[in-house]
Symmetry: C2
Subunit: 363 residues, 2 copies
């Protein structure tokens, strides 16, 4: 939302019955058992103008407005309607019993929702209850996306010798679309400093730029150089994780720029661990990484000197979520990862025993 929302009225706007039952004057029940006359029925959404006087009551529905005079509801299971239509109340009813009083939730003028709060279903419910049919919001972040690499070709034509189809592009595009961001697809560029430079300048018109490939130490890995040349300050390059080590991250004013590794699984893992939370922050939420906890269903040895994220299948088990590790051949192994539901974290050289509780994130 782009502005604070204040209450235009008390909520609830009237004393409201919480149960189906009878609206009564509590003091009438002080010497229970008593017998009261029933002077009418108040359905939800209707006004009842007649005052409930001494010795009187009114049948009332859940959510209905309390009639003047009455100050409590006794639920229908607790009373007896006599043959002559009168009501027998056999116990004392507390003042305010099963009544949700006017203004209990908030008073007119109270600040209910703050500028820049992320709208979720609960907040949308509150806005609905205030009578808003629409509200002004901040624009959703716009993310520019660019793939690089001479050997990469798109679908629709047979690969020449040495060429491979682009796996990263549809993967990242689907990841972005799942997050509801506006993605500006800048297409694919060959490993040429000049072409990359032009595309990067285009990409820096958006809130975030994501580039895949060309971030390692190879001589044709132009991405870091071209980004820095365009005023993007590098915050970090290379992370001690596997897969995903070549990750590059930088900023230019408020713009975030990620250079993801070109290998598709390294790209996927760094997208999930870094890009996704960053987008969630730009969307006004986030701040907590969505790791779930599960129980390892067989021994695992992490042979890497880096913190590793290993693909696994999930299943429901009595004690929680079972996590079954899969074969994993590294950052290009789409085949085994396609069979996985999640990646779980394993510390450098960790020997994790079956039954160990581990953290994972869903793909």
């Amino acid at each position: 939302m782009s502005r604070d929302i204040a209450a235009s009225a008390d909520a609830p706007a009237f004393d409201r019955a919480v149960m189906d039952g009878f609206a009564v004057r509590s003091r009438d029940t002080a010497d229970a058992p008593v017998v009261l006359r029933v002077v009418g029925f108040i359905p939800a959404g209707k006004t009842f103008c007649r005052r409930v006087g001494a010795g009187e009551s009114a049948r009332i529905a859940t959510g209905a407005m309390m009639p003047p005079g009455a100050d409590a509801v006794i639920k229908k299971e607790d009373v007896q309607v006599l043959a002559d239509g009168r009501l027998r109340v056999s116990r004392r009813v507390r003042k305010g019993e099963d009544v949700y009083p006017r203004g209990r939730d908030y008073r007119k003028g109270a600040f209910l929702l703050r500028r820049a709060m992320l709208l979720n279903p609960a907040r949308i419910a509150l806005l609905g209850s205030l009578g808003y049919g629409s509200v002004e919001v901040f624009a959703t972040p716009r993310v520019a996306f660019l793939t690089t690499g001479d050997e990469i070709i798109g679908p629709g034509r047979p690969p020449r010798s040495g060429q491979v189809y682009d796996a990263t592009r549809p993967m990242i595009l689907s990841g972005l679309s799942r997050m509801g961001v506006l993605c500006e697809d800048l297409g694919h560029v060959r490993d040429s400093a000049a072409l990359l430079d032009r595309k990067v300048r285009q990409g820096l018109r958006y809130d975030m730029l994501v580039v895949t490939g060309g971030v390692s130490a190879g001589e044709r890995d132009y991405v870091p150089r071209i980004l820095e040349k365009n005023g993007v300050t590098c915050f970090f390059h290379k992370v001690l994780i596997r897969p995903g080590k070549p990750l590059w991250f930088g900023c230019r004013r408020g713009q975030l720029v990620f250079g993801l590794p070109g290998n598709p699984i390294a790209s996927l893992v760094t997208f999930m661990l870094f890009v996704k939370p960053a987008i969630e922050c730009l969307q006004g939420g986030g701040g907590t990484l969505s790791f779930l906890r599960g129980i390892l269903s067989k021994d695992v040895y992490n042979e890497s000197e880096r913190l590793s994220f290993l693909p696994a299948r999930l299943c429901c088990r009595k004690k929680g979520i079972g996590v079954t590790p899969l074969v994993f051949r590294g950052s290009a192994d789409m085949y085994h990862v396609a069979g996985a539901d999640c990646f779980f974290a394993a510390r450098p050289y960790a020997r994790l025993k079956k039954g160990t509780r581990i953290s994972f994130f869903k793909i």
Copy 2:
């Protein structure tokens, strides 16, 4: 996806260099140190037809195709290029070193993805690598949605006495749209058996029907009766949770029908706990509930005899995610829930101490 996907070729389709370096014949390095001639450069995506003969090597980029004759790559950090352009290799290179061999991931004809698998970014990457620009998928579930209640009005007109604005409708619609389902909005019906009957028959043309309100034991709570009259078999009615006790669930052949409580927060919690996982199953995923684990940051007493879901704020703490309970006045309390990030679970009459690990789900 609506069919199995088999591999149309080996993957990788060729022996591939894993590092920037030099393609060599491993046997030439058996008596290292040796000096080799460099006969060319092989960038990624290009074919190199010249055979690497005895005493020769070729400079090669990550991802490039191995030249005929060579059987290993030595990375550029491990060699020395002499003044005359020749290469000094000071250690023995293993056969297959830093080469990802043809067919290592899978062979032509192997089944890679199965019918009815949920497409996630990793599987979309695999499809991309096979050259698919599009695939046939099953239709996303279509969910019909209907709200009930005489006291409920939509936005755009001032409430008459006793009326309240609809909070549930925008809430559930936003929850559904966030899940990417096709929602058929059947609008709002008054508490009339005849009108409800007509709408329910309309709603039963979809994969799922969600109705809010009218599921308690009140005499105007027509929903269970009308659903059963239309051939929906009740699987359960009322659940020992708070909020959300009045929940109704039934099936008619493959169709799922949920009657959610009319109170907005009860509606929200049952949507998250029951409707959302059911939709995820229809979408081909799901099976594990997305509870996260956090650490309670103050003592809580659950005064209810039911398993309760209590609103809380989240924050990052050293040992994990901190969960700070908020004031909660029950199933209509949108105000406090609007300030929350999650609901955490508390067993009946549980006294939970600060520091206890608890399960929560995000809103």
